[in-house]
């Protein structure tokens, strides 16, 4: 349901959201356990989508292009493996404009996933998604505050609502 590419991209972005420096692809690959070659391709897609910036040089590497609170899970999914909505029934003539109940039901499900991913920002999901080596379980957001998503894992808690911003509350009920 959620592709390996998306899984890896989310791990990489979570890692970047939880560190304070530009991270090299070797570091990200190690911390997220993503094969290095695969990761490079994903990082390229994330740079193209302007979610990540890359810097050359000795202290170079990748950093988030904007505030983690302004990057949704959907932004990341779209950058690496976009969700395809069902716009017409696969069995009908191209001119058919309505969608049958079966494909309407399937498309509704896809739409709900899309909405859910649009609401979740990197602030809500980062912190423990990609634990840095040697640090064990990270409990802090990049801004140094405790990550409430870790301490409180109430199943139904919305992890983050877009617009909360980086220092904002990550759990809304």
């Amino acid at each position: 349901m959620i592709s390996q590419t998306v899984e890896y991209a989310l791990r990489a972005m979570s890692h970047l959201a939880s560190v304070h420096h530009a991270a090299t692809s070797v570091e990200i690959a190690g911390a997220t356990k993503v094969p290095h070659g695969y990761l490079s391709k994903i990082m390229r897609d994330l740079v193209c989508a302007e979610l990540v910036r890359s810097f050359r040089g000795r202290r170079g590497g990748f950093i988030l292009a904007r505030d983690p609170g302004a990057i949704s899970v959907l932004d990341i999914v779209k950058a690496v493996d976009p969700i395809h909505r069902i716009e017409r029934c696969p069995l009908d003539e191209p001119l058919q404009t309505t969608v049958c109940p079966l494909h309407r039901c399937l498309d509704d499900a896809v739409a709900h996933i899309e909405q859910s991913f649009a609401r979740a920002t990197l602030v809500g999901v980062a912190g423990t998604g990609a634990p840095a080596r040697g640090r064990g379980r990270s409990r802090r957001n990049p801004d140094g505050r405790a990550n409430p998503g870790v301490a409180d894992r109430s199943e139904n808690a919305e992890l983050s609502v877009r617009g909360d911003g980086i220092g904002g509350r990550s759990i809304s009920r």
Partner: protein, 157 residues
């Protein structure tokens, strides 16, 4: 997002749900109506038989038919019979410190759970019956199949 296998299985099941109650369809007809490659369809139908969602009947009027009323078969039943939704039960990073799901994987699992609920709530009867009633799109799938209860047709499975 949804696999080709699931798409094909749902087309086949929708087709069967639109048949008159005592009719069966052979795999050639299903393949033709649903535009699913025959070899692929056979595999999908086998999975549906194993899951107890359809019966295969031998004989001249044989073929495949729903094992129970379409109102008692959910979209989720069909999905789980052919390409089950995989919930995320532990952190794929394999970190022993992660006894619970991290917020990232919790979020992803929540999305899968939501789909599971939605598919569990929708019956095959809902998607098949309303297709016939409104003569909506995907006519090839259900519209034409209503005429198919042909008692002289031999089972060519």
């Amino acid at each position: 997002m949804l696999s080709q296998t699931v798409e094909y299985a749902l087309r086949a099941m929708t087709h069967l749900a639109a048949l008159p109650s005592d009719a069966a369809a052979n795999s050639e007809t299903i393949a033709e109506r649903t535009q699913v490659p025959k070899g692929y369809l056979s595999k999908v139908l086998r999975d549906l038989v194993v899951a107890g969602l359809i019966d295969s009947r031998r004989g001249p009027n044989g073929g495949f038919a729903l094992a129970r009323p379409a109102s008692r078969i959910s979209i989720l039943d069909v999905v789980n019979a052919t390409d089950p939704l995989k919930r995320i039960e532990h952190c794929p990073l394999g970190n022993p410190a992660h006894l619970d799901l991290c917020p990232l994987h919790r979020r992803l699992d929540d999305a899968i759970a939501m789909i599971e609920r939605e598919f569990g709530r929708t019956s095959l009867a809902e998607v098949a019956a309303s297709s016939v009633r409104t003569s909506n799109a995907c006519r090839t799938l259900v519209g034409l199949t209503v005429q198919r209860a042909d008692p002289h047709r031999r089972d060519a499975r």
